[in-house]
Symmetry: C2
Subunit: 162 residues, 2 copies
């Protein structure tokens, strides 16, 4: 598996699984019926944001990550990031490899910490992965996410120093 910065040519491989994940509505606070154009604008970041892909030996995109400033101005030294792995390729360490790269890049880019604002508390696999990578839960915003099956569940604010 290779992790590299994404190019415009990667989008046609990203959109099908990103669309599946967003349409499911159980892990991302995105509108489930988002258009491809809006999704592309949100995911394929302009500098200083970055977008990465994890690709297999044959060039198949297995997953993707994006990172950007969590706030502007006086909050610009805190990074944020998002991760999506093609459901057909979970269980291979794709998210872990993407997150390791994003953390390394954020340090290189001068960020001092990384914050996730809205990790769905029922997304246990993601929460456990981020914790294993050094993130702690700062708080759970109660009932901040309407899960399609489980009703109102919490959103975790997670954080780690870089």
């Amino acid at each position: 598996m290779l992790i590299r910065e994404a190019t415009a040519a990667d989008w046609p491989q990203i959109w099908p699984f990103l669309h599946t994940i967003v349409a499911a509505g159980d892990t991302f606070t995105w509108d489930r019926d988002i258009t491809e154009a809006d999704a592309r604008a949100m995911w394929m970041k302009e500098a200083p944001g970055r977008t990465f892909v994890a690709v297999d030996e044959d060039g198949t995109v297995l997953g993707t990550a994006e990172t950007h400033r969590n706030q502007m101005g006086g909050g610009s030294h805190v990074a944020n990031a998002g991760f999506m792995v093609d459901p057909r390729h979970t269980g291979r360490g794709v998210a872990r490899a993407l997150c390791a790269r994003v953390l390394e890049q954020a340090r290189t880019d001068g960020y001092r910490s990384m914050q996730f604002n809205a990790v769905v508390e029922t997304n246990h696999r993601a929460v456990a992965l981020w914790q294993s990578l050094g993130f702690e839960v700062l708080t759970t915003v109660p009932e901040a996410f309407q899960h399609p099956d489980k009703g109102y569940v919490g959103l975790l604010v997670m954080y780690r120093r870089l």
Copy 2:
């Protein structure tokens, strides 16, 4: 003092004090050198967001507020809001009146709670005001804001049910 929804005609009165507040860089996580066009796009919300002004008897804009969805999709039932009061008109209850209106409107619009993501911890007056209006501090993100005089200080995540 009257609180009403803002119109495009209010912007010329909003921009001078909004610019002063943002350029000071000690309370908002906005780029201090933001252009007027970008500031206007960020503050004068399109639906379902809303922007309000507090105006004096003679039509002077004393302060302004904006409110919007804190997240999209499954997080759309949590509102966020921002408040700016002209420094020449502080101490008159403008922020409190604006916040009361924003809370009432958010309930009417069907939001279930309101969350602030980035209240600068040294902005003691704002923190005390939000607490007096029922907001609690869920967590402080450590060193998440670079204050122009005080160095790295925390950003509070504040929350209340509606």
